[in-house]
């Protein structure tokens, strides 16, 4: 046992001394942080305001579009104000207003209408509150272009602006704004279904269609309304019909009565296993690679002979497995430690904010993560499947290493093994959708895939028979792999020259 430990310790120290190990340990939390913060950062800074002109020759549609876009923009700013009100410490004026209104309602329930009445038309001007930058901004038609001209000549004049050859007057945020899009509503638009009189949307960038889609939606609504009116429908009825929305609530039968609503925590619960499977895959793969390299080093250096004059092949093999398991285990612990640590810190920040009366829906995320770790079998399951899966794959990689003298030889063996290893990744998107379906069940019973697939199913309440049965099969498989690979390892490790053929391996398995 002491020798297994010594071999393992050396292996671990060797890996721990590499830069890759430390980069792996620290990079992961950084990636988690960045990937969490990136969308927020992008939303804030990423896209600059896009400028557009509207030329309406009918004179009827542009005001409608402007009103609607303005209303959307106001909603956007109001939402931002809403979020801002939840911030901790609570913004002064809002806090005062809420206190004055005599309610002990949390800020999240900011009574916007009340605030509007209270603050008047400047209700969006709150100290410290910066309205989000508008994604779209209508600018006046450039000088020299007359909206009443015929469409082709207007378009000819607009082209250089749209191509960026001319720039718009500088603004605060942008010294040389470019005209992003032009919307031309020609004369006779909306009369009949005349194709030639369609709206003309000009833009170099055809990928960002949000403005185009929004305008199309509004104009479609407007045209429909006109149609209704021409058919003699009461505008009040039209408004009522349009206000109608199909209500939807997501419910989950597995949850306790009264808490059936599907929330963030539930989505997390459903998708976290995929994340864990990916981690499991990455860790097993990384760790097995280390093992492969270290065996090949010892073999090509012939250090192996000295080792084998000191320890038995079995001790050597188990020692190496142990050493690399320590490496992987520490990496995993560091990763989970950082996730949990981060969640704890955030939960603390948010809970102190909540104590001060602020509630933020995003604040529940860390608590959800923590409760997910506490309440489900994810963590213990991950640990168990990591160990069992690791034994199988690491032993296979170790044996491949023992068969080869160079990494090049090893690549030949690695091909098929990699293909086998890829399968769980391909399966990953399908299993959470049907965690107890036939695909999931079949692959659960293949020992090489059990750790990944069962991990993926773990929050889908798989039948207890599957859990225990596949567990037993996996443990049996590990024992078999250790036994068989032990035999091959013992014979292969001293072999030089060409790697043996498959048929020889079977012979090695049968006799010693």
């Amino acid at each position: 046992m002491r020798y297994i430990w010594l071999v393992g310790l050396r292996e671990f120290l060797e890996n721990a001394r590499t830069k890759g190990f430390w980069i792996g340990i620290f990079l992961f939390p950084v990636i988690i942080l960045v990937s969490g913060a990136l969308p927020i950062l992008l939303a804030k800074k990423g896209i600059s305001t896009r400028h557009y002109v509207v030329i309406d020759q009918t004179g009827e549609f542009a005001p409608k579009v402007r009103t609607e876009l303005g209303r959307q923009r106001t909603t956007e700013v109001e939402d931002a104000l809403h979020d801002f009100a939840r911030r901790d410490p609570a913004p002064r004026e809002l806090a005062r207003f809420i206190r004055a209104s005599g309610s002990n309602q949390p800020l999240s329930r900011l009574d916007l209408d009340g605030w509007k009445r209270h603050a008047g038309s400047n209700y969006l001007t709150v100290s410290g509150f910066n309205p989000p930058r508008a994604a779209w901004l209508e600018v006046p038609v450039p000088k020299g272009i007359h909206p009443s001209n015929d469409v082709p000549s207007i378009e000819a004049q607009l082209r250089p602006w749209l191509r960026g050859e001319f720039t718009l007057p500088p603004s605060e945020a942008n010294p040389s704004p470019k005209l992003f899009a032009a919307v031309i509503i020609p004369r006779g638009y909306g009369v009949g279904t005349n194709e030639s009189a369609s709206l003309r949307y000009w833009a170099e960038n055809t990928a960002d269609t949000s403005l185009r889609d929004s305008i199309q939606r509004q104009l479609s609504d407007e045209l429909r309304r006109r149609e209704y009116r021409s058919l003699g429908v009461d505008p009040a009825i039209i408004a009522r019909v349009e206000a109608r929305r199909a209500p939807i609530t997501d419910l989950n039968p597995r949850k306790a009565e009264g808490e059936e609503k599907v929330g963030m925590a539930d989505r997390l619960r459903q998708w976290a296993p995929s994340f864990f499977v990916y981690l499991l895959w990455v860790s097993i793969f990384a760790v097995s690679q280390m093992l492969l390299n270290s065996v090949i080093e010892e073999k090509s250096n012939r250090i192996i002979e000295v080792l084998l004059s000191s320890v038995t092949p079995g001790e050597l093999m188990l020692g190496k497995l142990l050493g690399v398991a320590m490496t992987g285990g520490i990496m995993m612990t560091a990763w989970f430690g950082s996730i949990i640590g981060m969640a704890l810190v955030q939960a603390r920040i948010f809970s102190s904010a909540a104590a001060a009366g602020a509630v933020n829906p995003a604040a529940s995320l860390p608590t959800d993560v923590l409760s997910l770790f506490q309440s489900t079998w994810l963590l213990p399951g991950f640990a168990a499947y990591f160990i069992l899966g690791y034994i199988a794959y690491a032993t296979i990689f170790l044996t491949i290493g023992s068969l080869c003298n160079t990494l090049k030889d090893a690549q030949n063996f690695m091909g098929p093994v990699m293909l086998v290893l890829m399968v769980p990744l391909f399966l990953m998107p399908f299993i959470p959708r049907d965690p107890n379906g036939p695909i999931a069940t079949i692959f659960s019973w293949i020992p090489l895939y059990t750790p990944f697939v069962m991990m993926n199913r773990i929050t889908g309440s798989p039948p207890i028979f599957d859990v225990i049965g596949t567990g037993i099969v996996l443990v049996g498989f590990d024992i078999l792999i250790l036994w068989g690979c032990g035999r091959i390892f013992r014979l292969a490790i001293l072999r030089t020259g060409q790697p043996p053929r498959i048929i020889e391996l079977f012979r090695w398995l049968r006799n010693r």
Binding site: R17, N301, E305, V306
Partner: protein, 308 residues
Amino acid sequence: MSEPALELRNVSKYYGEFCAVNDLSLTVPRGCIYGFLGPNGAGKTTSLRMILDILRPSSGTISVLGSPSALAVRHRIGYLPEEKGLYKKMKAWAVIAYFAGLKGLSSGDARRRAFELLERYGLKDFAQAKTEALSKGMGQKVQVLASIAHDPELVILDEPFSGLDPVNQGVLEEIVTDLRARGRTVLFSTHVMAHAERLCDRLVIIGGGRRLFDGTMTEARRTLPHRVRLHTDDDPAPLRGVPGVTGLISDGPGAWQVELSEGADPQLVLRACFERAIRLRTFNAAEPSLHDVFMKLVGPSAREASFR
């Protein structure tokens, strides 16, 4: 202590049809330096691996320090394999300490011993260097030290001198004789006769997997007739009639070997040369070298092997 350090009885090893070691028997007494000689492909490394129980013999028995398997007494054996390699990223002292630890030393003792050995054999300054930074010769010395760090009773060195410069060969010879001085047994293989000649108390010569000779240095020399080497521009044929001379062999242009019968005095040949007016440029009455013995014993089979 009377039992031999190592004993092989009728040991053979087959790889499929190919016979690497054929019915090899030998006995290595304790406290001696034992040479294991043979040409390339003679079965030296295979034999050593069998002695260490890394390979199992196909037939025959091996007794190492009184045990049927080296693994049972592995802490009392040190081994340096033929192809030398070290963990590239480990420091010199750590490699020695690691192998000593695998041989049963506590980590503290192993560490102490590593520094002690590095200092004694002139590698003190490199103790903290990674082995990949060491020259080949230094790396090899580190490896030798690693194989003896646990003060083994039996040290097995496979081609320990190959790749070392003359100075370091001297250091290695010193290590080996130090071991003998402390009553340890050293078995080393080589095909450089000079080292064997200087160091060995006993030696075995194998060729084609068979034992060709086993005995002391003196016994080895006795396998060849006494001879005198001489250089002359004259015709040495008249020496044939001299009593005690059994043969005359040409050894290149102007060089000759005169074979003498057992116990004949080389001085007689010298006197005969004067009497017969054979002018000598050199006259060498040294005993046959191990090189001669080796060439005579394995020469034909080694050539054959190299063309196989």
